[in-house]
Subunit: 342 residues, 4 copies
Amino acid sequence: MLTCAVLGATGYTGIELVKILLRHPGVRITALTTRQKENIPLRKLIPVLPEALDLEVKRWSFSEIRRAAELVFLCLPHTEAMQTAEAFHRAGKIVIDLSADLRLKDWRLYEAWYQVRHTHRGLLKTAVYGLPELFRSKIRKADLIANPGCYPTAAILGIAPLLREGLIEPDSINIDAKSGVSGAGRKLTPATQFCEVDQNFFAYKVGRHQHTPEIEQALSFAAGRKVRVAFVPHLLPIERGILATIYMKLKKGVRAPAIAQAFKKAYSDEPFVRLRPEGEFPALKDVQRTNFCDIGFGVEPKTGRLIVVSVIDNLLKGASGQAVQNMNLRMGFQEEEGLRVW
Amino acid sequence: MLTCAVLGATGYTGIELVKILLRHPGVRITALTTRQKENIPLRKLIPVLPEALDLEVKRWSFSEIRRAAELVFLCLPHTEAMQTAEAFHRAGKIVIDLSADLRLKDWRLYEAWYQVRHTHRGLLKTAVYGLPELFRSKIRKADLIANPGCYPTAAILGIAPLLREGLIEPDSINIDAKSGVSGAGRKLTPATQFCEVDQNFFAYKVGRHQHTPEIEQALSFAAGRKVRVAFVPHLLPIERGILATIYMKLKKGVRAPAIAQAFKKAYSDEPFVRLRPEGEFPALKDVQRTNFCDIGFGVEPKTGRLIVVSVIDNLLKGASGQAVQNMNLRMGFQEEEGLRVW
Amino acid sequence: MLTCAVLGATGYTGIELVKILLRHPGVRITALTTRQKENIPLRKLIPVLPEALDLEVKRWSFSEIRRAAELVFLCLPHTEAMQTAEAFHRAGKIVIDLSADLRLKDWRLYEAWYQVRHTHRGLLKTAVYGLPELFRSKIRKADLIANPGCYPTAAILGIAPLLREGLIEPDSINIDAKSGVSGAGRKLTPATQFCEVDQNFFAYKVGRHQHTPEIEQALSFAAGRKVRVAFVPHLLPIERGILATIYMKLKKGVRAPAIAQAFKKAYSDEPFVRLRPEGEFPALKDVQRTNFCDIGFGVEPKTGRLIVVSVIDNLLKGASGQAVQNMNLRMGFQEEEGLRVW
Amino acid sequence: MLTCAVLGATGYTGIELVKILLRHPGVRITALTTRQKENIPLRKLIPVLPEALDLEVKRWSFSEIRRAAELVFLCLPHTEAMQTAEAFHRAGKIVIDLSADLRLKDWRLYEAWYQVRHTHRGLLKTAVYGLPELFRSKIRKADLIANPGCYPTAAILGIAPLLREGLIEPDSINIDAKSGVSGAGRKLTPATQFCEVDQNFFAYKVGRHQHTPEIEQALSFAAGRKVRVAFVPHLLPIERGILATIYMKLKKGVRAPAIAQAFKKAYSDEPFVRLRPEGEFPALKDVQRTNFCDIGFGVEPKTGRLIVVSVIDNLLKGASGQAVQNMNLRMGFQEEEGLRVW
């Protein structure tokens, strides 16, 4: 039994991660932490748990966690995550960080987009970007895994194979993404009050969302050249799910079968990516509460445009589900363990 | 007092139109029709009306309506609308048609996108496209007005001035539009059942929505050349409102002030278009239950992209509010009469 | 033109009140206040307003308001309201207080249920309870009006005539009330975050909601004896509206026509109460965004039970609409002025 | 491995049942039926299933099902269910009927409330009412199980122990129940269209809902005398969950500890009933997507009233989860098998 700690277990991703780990037959949760002063019964946070599951979330010291767990999940705010990651990495633990702190290889990008100093730049080279569909073999050996952001997961999976195969114009990518409210986390903000969100819809952080460089880094890697994208996130009046509609210009002469072929080549063996035939598009309901990423596409000869729709559950494939997928890869569990849910 | 008939008063647009007309001091509703056999008290359809308003919706003969009303609004299904429009037009009535039947100048486009025959092609030349911001002077003299579709209204208002001023690449337009469920009308369909829509989100009719040629016709007019667009509509789990996020490539050297200037030139005297300063974007809540179209934009030097967000209430500026705006223009009422609501 | 001030114009009731007053032909808003340091353009709070309406909400001194306005609406937190009411009352202004501070005649009840001291007990005798259907003639002459709570308005209107006519057992009343989220006001709380409310439903403050004594006071007045009720409020995942389902035991021998008769006697001349025939029940949609209270009832001979359903819009008949109705009565305007909306 | 058939697998309860059975280690699904002419891939109905689960829903003959399955779940419309139940019962199968056809012992009640003839009255004596908390030992031996309705499950579990212990006045029970939309099933109706339900709330079938006699039958059994209740269902604008707020008069001298004691006595060994301490009340979120029934209560000395709040997921404990619980009891599986979900 692998012993696991979840640091920051009271937010939406922490809660979702704990729910998966409790279902995982190869894992034992040995520490759940919070910065709050009072101990919190886990069933207070997750009331759907049976009464028998009487774990507590509480304050833990570094050395207690070090003794208790072999693998540490970090569901901490950025900047706090990087220093914790360093400490546990140095202590020989396997660390899966769900924050943004270790995702960007270039600390200057991090500092420009997050507007804080990166104080542990040395970790950036060590950390492996935990998107299994692109970096599976590296993840299998990584001791420090930077779990991808929710928007980047949806966007990258819908675009990378097309760039890799040279089917689209790299400078023509527009990503129109829509996310449920749980993506904003659990902190109190006017923007996530019921009366502000319900019956409403809006774009936010247009052209300046901090997930932009993360998307561009992975797409540049896939393309073998610098790629820049237009990325506009929107807030949906629903709890969970991300749908990205992606507009690209096809390279001259590229037809639908080539697109289908590129996706198939990339994903036909993937346990968590499902492809639709041309002209069929997935809905959020197809993937909510699962670890799947569903992808559909359409080709418009009239405009030379390719339209891809990619959907995920932002808390699962976009966060905690993917974190467990990464754990499974790293620890030699079956990749779908704990993640076969419906 | 202008006497008005609303043909097809039981659908969402018919109901919304009646609500406006009942507020309009210059208008008297003299006929409300339905194909249903039994008379329907208007207050059954619109329970928020005071008890004193005891109108009935019922079957009317052509000659009864002809005697009763000087102006006829058609809230009828397409194909049924065109023949009714012809009859009342020939009878010397002013006709405002909210269906799609008279919007496209080219009947071949109509037949291709709507998959039915256009049986009254002669009307297409006579009909004026009722988008006041583009065709105000023609509308003032028109006896046959083709009221625009909801998606086209949001899209065209967000793009036309930019094409007119030559600020964007005409072949680079991608329109990502999201609509509330009332846009689908009142007919029973599995797709609009609560349990299918709520908590869900999806694209539909990707690349084949019938509003595409209507958008392209108006944009081609504005550009003075053939314009084609990629247009993807989505269904939002809310009742009303359309938000269109529009991605365009800026022409070389074009900067934000030129964009602001183009919008200002087009709309600064418009009573129902409101502009935001660069980098500010409207939300659906800003325009729901009003006749406004709010427009925001952002320029991304990094990608050379211009992003425009345009929002309307699909039942008002996207349908019945615009129909009344057209009536006001045609009849010499003040343009905002009946439409100042909050 | 009556000059009006709205103190506390940034909350949901303040905003709704301003919207009505802006429509009211006999009124001019001369002061809109907030405790926040910076001036707030009204159109920031109410973006659906036309651009021409360029009022500002800002800090005002007591003497400025005294000079500016003849009538003062208080949309202030309780305890703050009572001292402001006293000051403006003493200054000779007409005061309509939307808080709970002046509703209960017995300050001991106030202190017990609100858990704060009542520091202006002298006002309680002067203040008139602003429920026009029960106290119209007093309201016409009142200089200090205590505008009722939202739950009490829905509950009292559904029960009072039955007690007055002696048709039900006064000790058998159970009020099951459900309210939209705007009833909780605009302050940030975890309970009103989108992800907590949406898809959820729950009872709160069971047996200890502070509106209980207000309901009991009015019902005791109607019954001419002490009446106690069981009252359970619930939170609906919608923005606005209250529906109260009320269970009562019929007195021996009472039949449906007597109930209908009692309601008709009480409300047939009321502009804002609408009655349904026996066995028909109103929905929230029937009254949302209006000042109506709709009432339906059913008699169950099998159990001797009477069931009443009463619905209002919590921000209108349950707060700001009723405040304007009270103003209209007091100032001699037509009772429906500003409140004919659909 | 137990072989199971689900007859009527395309409705909401059928789908939910199939999802549970696919998780159940002791069961193999051998037949999934529909009346529709074309075969339906199960993943079309349940898109969250992994691609490997490639079952089909299709037409089956009686004899094919008889050969294929030892146990038959009926998710059929009432009247169709009773004759199918008879046929499979006679063929020696274990039958769990999720319809209302076999729940009422008295066919006259059935005919009065469902307004159709009961053509298989002989089955009513044989059928066991499948509410494990009341009839576990009978269920263990039953070959014909009438799975309870959703409202009755929530109501009966919240009341029966109190009647059994003689703590409340049997003639004082008022049940105010609120259900999500999935309870209305999947058929197309205007009442379940998104634009009718969303932002709305209303009572329906007041005093004439067909679940009333089912509730009264079980409560009469618990009380050992005829019990009648007032029962008002309401439609919540959410997908799933039932919350029942139950108002009862306490017998003289009964205090809170006696109530707590009665519930504890009834449910302390129950795997799917969870009790709250006095004054704490469950929310829908506590039980959605689980088989739990959570119960809270409050005593009001002032009015002599007891208020109970009982919540379930209408598709699980209110239908398919309970059906599997019954199967587990009957077949000797562990009672929670397939139902430990979070």
